[in-house]
């Protein structure tokens, strides 16, 4: 114990790397990458406060004005009579719906693939991996035909159901359960008289909070950002999620669609604002799930 605290006191820069050269390099790496990731985002946030000409001519980091921001806001939310709000609502519906279904489906599946034995286990793992590697272009048409046969095209389910097939999440759960939950724990529970379902719900699931959060998070983000599936399944603009709606917005922006030019068409800073608005929910979800992601799957049985 004393060795630990002694160690902590000695790392003044808050790092557990000893030696100045080590810390120096680590520091440089951190700073370089912070700049790399953050500069475009900062630019984007500043861009929403500018006018189109200001975006082109002013210094990229110069702030615009409040009135220009308000004008961009007006233009964005007035576009097609408030279509943007509808689109965001649709995105939320699809993403959350698919999220719930994904969790219900993926967590037990990952658990059983990792910690139980059944004959098709390997087959399912291999098939899942193979399917994950198939480009979605090839899968879209069959899925479209399938859903058309059951008459779901154009309904939210046509988007929610395919989205809840989330092999990435199943794999995450599988890896987590197979590396972090000791089998002895489960065996102990079985010896204590738990049924298999109780083993899952009372022992494995509580320990799996981090991976549940992780899968929920990635599922939500992937569904929120999914363009191709809703594009194919939803013919009507009322049902568009924000990603597909953004293409409508793009097509009304002269820089990307010159024939729509005119001084009342969508301006570039409005597009920037649309971008910011479309990613806000993802960021909020990320902030909330930070707590679980931070605990980082330590619940698998370490002493800390």
């Amino acid at each position: 114990m004393t060795a630990l605290t002694g160690e902590r006191r000695s790392s003044q820069l808050g790092m557990s790397i000893r030696g100045w050269s080590g810390r120096g390099i680590a520091g440089v790496v951190l700073v370089v990458f912070v700049l790399f990731f953050a500069i475009p985002i900062i630019w984007l946030l500043i861009a929403v406060t500018k006018s189109s000409k200001g975006l082109i001519l002013d210094n990229p980091f110069a702030l615009g004005s409040w009135s220009e921001f308000a004008a961009n806001w007006q233009q964005l939310f007035g576009f097609q009579d408030g279509a943007v709000t509808t689109w965001i609502g649709n995105s939320a519906l699809y993403s959350i719906g698919a999220l719930v279904l994904t969790l219900v489906v993926s967590i037990p599946a990952g658990y059983s693939l990792a910690l139980t034995e059944f004959r098709l286990r390997r087959a399912l793992l291999v098939l899942t991996l193979v399917v994950m590697l198939i480009p979605s272009t090839a899968l879209v048409l069959p899925i479209f035909l399938e859903l058309n046969t059951v008459g779901l095209i154009g309904t939210p389910l046509s988007v929610i159901l395919p989205m809840s097939f989330f092999p990435f999440g199943v794999y995450l759960t599988y890896i987590y359960f197979s590396t972090s939950i000791p089998r002895d724990l489960l065996s102990a529970a079985r010896i204590d008289g738990c049924t298999e379902i109780q083993v899952f719900t009372r022992v494995a699931l509580p320990l799996a909070t981090p991976v549940v959060a992780l899968v929920a998070f990635f599922s939500f983000v992937q569904n929120w950002n999914n363009f191709f599936l809703p594009f194919v399944m939803l013919p009507s603009s009322d049902g568009y999620p924000i990603q597909v709606g953004l293409t409508s917005l793009l097509s009304a922006t002269p820089a990307f669609n010159p024939s729509s030019a005119g001084s009342d068409s969508v301006q570039l800073p409005t597009l920037a604002l649309a971008t910011v608005v479309s990613i806000l929910p993802v960021l909020i979800v990320f902030l909330f799930s930070q707590r679980f992601l931070v605990s980082g799957m330590t619940a698998g049985g370490t002493k800390e």
Binding site: A3, E7, S11, G14, S16, I17, A26, V29, L30, V34, F37, A38, I39, P40, W43, L44, I56, P60, V105, A109, S112, L115, T116, F118, L125, L127, L133, I134, T137, A138, L139, L141, P142, E146, P167, S178, T179, R183, R190, I191, E196, L214, F218, V221, Q243, T247, L250, F256, L268, S278, L283, F286, Q290, L293, G296, M297, G301, T302, K303, E304
Partner: protein, 313 residues
């Protein structure tokens, strides 16, 4: 309650032993419960994964009327004038992207993990993750400006490389690097979060023991942390390989941003998309997709077998 450390902890420093699955207590899971838990997923997998995949295979070997076409679609696709350039593009991109991802994500995760200051660690991971929220159409505008030496926030950097206009930045020779940068920018954050979590899983006692023994940071990283991350790195490798061969979003969005100067048939996946939705040739599209799948499978086999992805500890 006392809990034995996870099985992979015991393997530290010693050649990896694989413990048989059933040693204590009665054999778990030889009851049908495994089937029950996996049933919902199996249904979805069948409906939205396996059936469509089989249909795609069916499409690849038939022609538009439904008649058997043998290898006809594959020949047509492979002799398409856009095919081999697309292959080269994807290979160039994949090499740069995979290397950058594997090296930098692990490096960053290790460095961030070494930070003891909680708020710094959290906010760093947030910053690294932020770009991942920007996908597809959202970032067309962003890259149109960031890559334009006239209006970019990093215009100094671009001019340092000798670029004075947007068209110069997107010259064909630069594209693999540009796409790798964009893909890294959006994709690295998520993996850093996952790797960070996996690193947290490693008992600090083991790390302390090594430190007391005199190991420095690099040695700890190489000999303790990396081996324990093997499965995660393998997973990241496989997923990134799949994502890389299926390069689509980055060239598509730059194609839109540049009004076509970056072609919309740059990558194989884009070519499949064009076949399906511009030439109405779903059979050709399926053929390309199958080729992509085979290549991705072959390559990912390397990661799966060397990373022990399917082994149970």
């Amino acid at each position: 309650m006392t809990i034995a450390p996870p099985s992979d902890q015991l393997a530290v420093g010693a050649p990896e032993r694989r413990r048989p699955a059933r040693r204590t207590g009665r054999a778990p899971g030889r009851t049908p419960i495994g089937y029950v838990f996996v049933s919902l997923y199996a249904i979805l997998a069948l409906a939205f994964g396996i059936f469509p995949a089989l249909y795609a295979v069916f499409l690849a070997f038939t022609n538009a009327d439904g008649g058997f076409a043998g290898l006809g679609n594959f020949v047509q696709v492979v002799t398409d004038f856009r095919f081999w350039p697309a292959v080269l593009h994807v290979v160039a991109y994949l090499v740069i992207w995979l290397l950058a991802l594997l090296i930098f994500v692990v490096l960053l995760a290790l460095v961030v993990h070494a930070l003891r200051v909680r708020w710094a660690s959290t906010s760093l991971r947030f910053i690294y993750y932020l770009p991942g929220a920007l996908a597809g159409a959202s970032s067309v505008l962003l890259w149109l400006f960031v890559l334009d030496p006239i209006a970019s926030p990093v215009s100094g950097l671009l001019r340092l490389f000798g670029f004075t206009s947007f068209v110069q930045v997107i010259q064909p020779g630069n594209l693999p690097v540009v796409f790798a940068i964009i893909a890294f920018w959006t994709g690295a954050g998520g993996w850093i979060v996952i790797m960070y979590g996996a690193l947290n899983n490693i008992s600090t006692e083991v790390m302390e023991a090594a430190r007391i023994d005199g190991a420095n940071a690099v040695q700890i990283a190489l000999q303790i942390q990396l081996p324990l991350l093997r499965k995660w790195i393998a997973y990241m490798g496989v997923m990134s390989l799949a994502a890389g061969t299926q390069l689509f979003v980055e060239p598509q969005l730059l194609s839109q941003a540049s009004n076509g100067v970056v072609p919309n048939d740059y990558s194989l996946n884009q070519l499949a998309y064009l076949y399906a939705f511009q030439q109405n040739d779903f059979n050709g599209a399926a053929a390309i997709s199958l080729l992509l799948l085979v290549v991705a499978l072959l390559l990912s086999w390397v990661f799966v077998s060397r990373g022990g992805l399917f082994e149970k500890e």
